[in-house]
Amino acid sequence: MEKEVSLAVDLAGLSLKTPVMTASGTFGFGEEFADFVDLNKIGAIVVKGTTLKPRSGNPGVRIAETPSGMLNCIGLENPGVDAFLTDILPRISKYDAPIIVNISGSSVEEYGVLARMLDVPGVAAIELNVSCPNVKEGGIVFGTDPKSAAAVVREAKKNTKKPVIIKLSPNVTDITVMAKAVEEAGADMISLINTLIGMAIDVKSWRPVLGNVSGGLSGPAVKPVALRLVWQVAQVVKIPIIGMGGIMTAEDAIEFLLAGASAVAVGTANFVNPSAAQDVADGIEAYLKERNLTDVKELVGQLKLK
């Protein structure tokens, strides 16, 4: 008889049916994918980055495909937290998947305001975006300085009872300094990586391909970098890590789990395969069965160095 396999994970009080969530900005508000994934079954829906006021995003071309990846410079287009709370949350909270709201502030205080406004039923956790590379006030200033990142975490924690995740930028010299600073400040979880800053040039016109000149690189091209950063962070913090960066398949996700992530997020893959979040979870389940394992937690941090 086949053994039952458990994919459920508990991250700092946040219970997920599977360790596979969707990365902010790649899954809309979830409902866009209702034809392709069962929103009652996936690990969590992390919604598009939300700001205090509505934002219309960057002008010009916003995406460009690059080798094994893509650049984007959307610029945090979103309807604002009020519209999220009144129009969107009531619509998507009918699904069983926990809703995690990614927030971006233009000041430390604004992160606190957003965290408080989102401390409502239907929101399972908040993710602090301190690493958006595409807008001046999109948080990357907070994401590259350990003191600022810690201040953002403390401000958010003061204003919400929900678990607080902080999404780290890969665009730093030493990720472990950032990770230790945010753990000490009280972050419940760390998610990483956000996109790597990159650019592309059109040799016909001698102009940047992207309207915003540079943008965030994502997709399979960034996976080795993301994996290394997750592994480094896993060596220095005790709080759970949500690993992401170029995960397209279950094998990719398993690499992140072995490196020390307790859960993973699927991002760019959603654009290529709209049922990626479900497919990756199903693939992890199949892998566990094949290896005669019963619980996904048996993979976490089990990288063998010798």
């Binding site: 900005g25 790649t26 899954f27 809309g28 866009e32 994918f33 034809d35 392709f36 598009k48 509505p54 219309s56 995003g57 071309v61 916003r62 995406i63 460009a64 495909e65 080798p67 094994s68 990846g69 893509m70 984007n72 959307i74 287009e77 309807p79 997709g219 399979p220 760019t268 959603n270 654009f271 290529v272 395969n273 709209p274 049922s275």
Partner: protein, 253 residues
């Protein structure tokens, strides 16, 4: 309407004109539910190109379950697509977006370049045969007239070099056609500069006008926000992939 992502066998792939090809895929669910103006997102093969490529639907055969996609080779993605052989399998996501309004009695379709492709599906579905005004650079680009034969009342052609039809831009012929009073709708698909000009001319004759926009996009499902555009109705931006690609001209211009 349910969107699907399905593996579709290529049943035909032929050259129509310089750099322009027609791909026919067996995608029954899409063929049976798609309406004119909608598009599909093709994942051409595993690996590169990574992202899907949006292609407008040029025709469907609901009985045979096939979808015709006409495209021009313009970049890396369409170059890879151009090399796909008959019987190969592509992944087809669709039908996507909102299509054309069909409640008109005597429409004039206006197409420029590859914008002529989705208008073919429209011509096939309209209750009364429309007329079409189409433009291109020269005679070699005007293979379209063959595809439209029997599906429209009249075909008006303009070319940049005058090698066939009237010499000039598509929109230069538009005022006199609209002045005749023969049309109650203008439907434009082509380069944005042409659509804007056509929409302005339609407005002066007070004829309702629809346009079909084209933008770079990743998901095609309204999630990535690569393709949003300003809307003229005040606040909310429009997603070309979801709220469009077809809009009333005054919504976006």
């Amino acid at each position: 309407m349910l969107k699907v992502a399905l593996d579709a066998v290529v049943t035909a792939h032929e050259v129509l004109g310089p750099g322009v090809k027609k791909l026919v895929v067996l995608a029954k669910q899409i063929a049976q539910t798609a309406v004119p103006g909608q598009f599909v997102q093709l994942k051409i093969k595993d690996g590169e190109p990574l992202l899907r490529r949006p292609l407008s639907i040029a025709s469907v055969d609901a009985a045979a379950g096939t979808v015709d996609l006409i495209y021009r080779v313009v970049g890396k993605g369409t170059q890879v697509l151009a090399d796909v052989e008959k019987n190969a399998v592509v992944n087809c996501l669709g039908p996507l977006g909102k299509g054309f309004d069909l409640s008109c009695k005597s429409p004039l379709l206006v197409g420029g370049g590859m914008g002529i492709a989705p208008l073919l599906f429209l011509a096939e579905r309209l209750e009364t045969k429309p007329s079409i005004l189409m433009g291109g650079r020269n005679q070699s680009e005007m293979f379209w007239t063959t595809l439209y034969k029997g599906k429209v009342k009249e075909i008006f052609v303009t070319t940049d070099d005058g090698s066939v039809g009237t010499k000039g831009f598509t929109v230069s012929l538009l005022p006199e056609l609209l002045a005749s009073g023969a049309y109650d709708r203008v439907v434009v698909c082509g380069p944005e500069i042409m659509m804007k000009a056509a929409a302005a001319i339609a407005a002066t004759y007070q004829i309702p006008c629809q346009v079909s926009l084209e933008k770079h996009m990743a998901c095609g499902l309204g999630a990535c926000l690569s393709c949003t555009c300003e809307s003229k109705d005040g606040k909310k931006r429009k997603k070309v992939c979801q709220d469009g690609p077809v809009f009333w001209a005054q919504e976006v211009f």
